[in-house]
Symmetry: C2
Subunit: 200 residues, 2 copies
């Protein structure tokens, strides 16, 4: 697919709709998740069939959630806080795993682009700079989408012990605030079971 | 809206599509996020206008991501691992905040339902038990959706210091694996900057 076909595809639109906007991070996450899922030959995970391990909590992780079905709330989405754009996908069906790692120099932003982002976060963009930022942001997003996977990523088979499935356990009331709490998260304080919020 | 109207609504369908299936957790997250956003009188967060703090990483968190636009990859989604179905939403626009906490006894599952979930996780459900599980799961989901907010939740105004906006920083190569890494995540090992994966 060329860049326009990708941007018009339901998959990409769903990533953008969930994340809230088009950006280079969502574009790299889209490409990485697509490449990983194609390698595994799997469909989106309805339950916990696939496990995703992301090494960044940046924008790319949202495209991973949408396309793989490995979501924060489902117990099959693991974050290692390494600050790396690396996605590992493991399949409970086949036992296979794949590691998709961004190559150096392919997803970085130009210095003028970084500077505009810093100003935007501080709320200091002029109207002209806002337009420049939008233009650079879209250009970079499109450039990533049209780059072939083999130029963007190192993709290789990997093996890793499968994590346990998500636990579901009944809640019990905190003896102080009386709000319901997963039993294993209560702490014994002088013989009373107290939630962590009340401990703080 | 009655339960059937909710289940037919785009909002609920998007939650289910993202999460992968209907379940009591998604239903409680849907109700909590809707109640919190209505209290704040805000629209879904395209960027970082709203901040969500969830106190559980269970299913409900996925409905929160979909409905509030506070997503794992966007820097406006904070997880406190307290094991409580409590959602706090803060608005950068108005400076207001709301805390939505599930009341005791409203979202818990019956013992026979819990037992079937345990068997399912262990892959030990018979076909008949699978049907029973599906039926109980759907019944509980629908029961939550039709319960009025004031019976399900304690909803109150709250104030909290707003967290900083997400940082964006350039990557630098790890001196061992050469993969790009957010600079602040590199560790100095004998004078060489090394990623945490290579440190392990």
């Amino acid at each position: 697919m060329n860049v326009q076909e990708i941007m018009n595809s339901n998959d990409f639109k769903q990533c953008v709709s969930f994340h809230g906007h088009v950006c280079p991070g969502v574009s790299i996450g889209y490409k990485a998740a697509k490449a990983g899922m194609a390698w595994l030959k799997e469909n989106r995970s309805e339950d916990e069939e696939i496990i995703a391990i992301v090494e960044t909590n940046a924008c790319s992780a949202d495209a991973v959630q949408v396309l793989t079905g490995c979501t924060f709330g489902k117990g099959n989405f693991i974050h290692k806080d390494y600050g790396k754009m690396v996605l590992t996908l493991l399949s409970r069906n086949s036992g296979k795993g794949v590691r998709v790692a961004v190559k150096a120099g392919t997803s970085g932003l130009a210095p003028e682009h970084m500077e505009l982002i810093r100003k935007m976060i501080d709320g200091k963009l002029t109207d002209t700079e806002q337009e420049q930022f939008q233009e650079l942001h879209l250009q970079k997003s499109m450039s990533i989408l049209e780059t072939p996977d083999q130029e963007l990523f190192t993709i290789r088979e990997t093996s890793m012990e499968l994590p346990q499935k998500a636990r579901i356990e009944p809640s019990e009331p905190c003896s102080r605030c009386k709000e319901p709490v997963m039993k294993s998260k209560l702490k014994d304080v002088d013989g009373q079971m107290v939630c962590q919020d009340c401990c703080n």
